[in-house]
């Protein structure tokens, strides 16, 4: 495996794509079960983006989004982020609490708890899928929530990438439900060592 993210082979890309597909698929099923609605997931897109393109790729730097951040611990170091636009987040909160859907970027205390719990379930199911595939132990930290401009939220994983690369690897798994239009993205940010462990565990090491 190469020492730079920029030099990943096509094979390594395919593996990352498949891993995120399985992780996001598992998470989508969890969301679907929780909300009692059918949620579809699109095929994940893996992109190497320059830092200045990162925020544009999810709707612009000033687009207000809900970010739920987890640290990754045990065999894999890094972070994982689940990003939703505010309207989708409000929709999910309302559908779980059986309340009226609120507008804008303000969430009640209860709403924040719901989103964090949602994040827990999503991260847990995403990571357990990757864990069983790779036989690596991966545990998320408690979730942290922030509602702000996409650029500001994404600066956190971008900076983590900045230490090992001049570009960020965005693994974007969009999920949504026709009719309600809940859209979200998973961003997985393993460290370079963690990538190496994933590839090794799958027999891809050279």
């Amino acid at each position: 495996m190469s020492a730079r993210l920029e030099e990943f082979s096509d094979m390594e890309f395919d593996v990352l794509k498949e891993i995120s597909n399985i992780g996001a698929g598992n998470a989508t099923t969890a969301i679907s079960t929780m909300l009692g609605i059918k949620v579809d997931m699109k095929v994940p897109v893996i992109k190497f983006l320059e830092f200045k393109e990162l925020a544009e790729s999810i709707g612009g730097a000033e687009n207000i989004v809900t970010g739920i951040l987890f640290g990754l611990e045990m065999d894999i170091d890094g972070m994982m982020m689940f990003v939703m636009d505010c309207r989708s987040a409000q929709k999910m909160v309302a559908s779980i609490l059986h309340t009226e859907e609120a507008e804008g970027a303000e969430f009640s205390e209860m709403g924040v708890s719901v989103l964090q719990e949602l994040g827990n379930i999503i991260a847990g199911s995403y990571l357990s899928a990757i864990s069983s595939l790779t036989h690596l132990s991966i545990a998320p930290t408690v979730p942290y929530l922030s509602v702000d401009m996409a650029g500001a939220i994404l600066s956190v994983p971008a900076i983590q990438f900045g230490t090992v690369s001049d570009r960020a690897l965005l693994i974007r798994s969009e999920f949504g439900e026709e009719g309600t239009n809940v859209d979200g993205y998973f961003i997985l940010v393993p460290t370079l060592e963690a990538f190496e462990k994933i590839f090794t565990s799958l027999g891809l090491s050279n």
Binding site: A105, M149, I153, S155
Partner: protein
């Protein structure tokens, strides 16, 4: 009104009045503005990390406080702006997530701000105003005509420094 020059993440640019320069959605990153009040030329760099010497992967100078400010000074020098006539303003360096962790990567906002102050001091450039820290994102616009830095955040009043 002039044009608005955009600076992306880990990016830099310069402009001259009546144009203005902006960077959108600063989180833990810092937007550093260097300007010359007489010629009304200014430059902005959007730095992500404090120190290029601490990181192996440093092909993009605009990513770091030390090399970013160094290269921005060079860009301004090409326009005939002397270092001695420059003043600085900055904003950003937030901690976006209230993480209770000793992971220094997550406190990078604070470290970025400290690094910028130190680098500016090393060049003898006066930092006249700053709006750093806290836990929210900032969009900034600098108008070299008036030397004002506009700071916009979600759910907050416009701040001018």
């Amino acid at each position: 009104m002039g044009n608005m020059v955009k600076v992306g993440m880990a990016d830099m640019n310069i402009c001259k009045a009546p144009d203005a320069i902006t960077t959108l959605g600063l989180g833990s990153c810092i937007g550093v503005v260097l300007y010359d009040a007489r010629t009304k030329i200014c430059g902005m760099v959007h730095v992500m990390l404090p120190d290029s010497t601490a990181i192996k992967m440093n092909d993009n100078p605009a990513k770091f406080a030390d090399t970013g400010i160094r290269d921005l000074l060079a860009m301004l020098a090409k326009e005939g702006v002397a270092k001695a006539s420059l003043k600085a303003k900055m904003a950003g360096g937030a901690q976006m997530f209230a993480v209770k962790s000793d992971n220094e990567m997550l406190r990078v906002g604070q470290r970025n701000a400290e690094a910028v102050r130190k680098v500016l001091a090393s060049y003898g450039i006066k930092l006249l105003a700053e709006d750093c820290g806290a836990n929210y994102g900032r969009t900034i616009e600098f108008y070299p005509e008036t030397q004002e830095l506009y700071i916009k955040s979600i759910g907050k009043e416009l701040k001018i420094i």
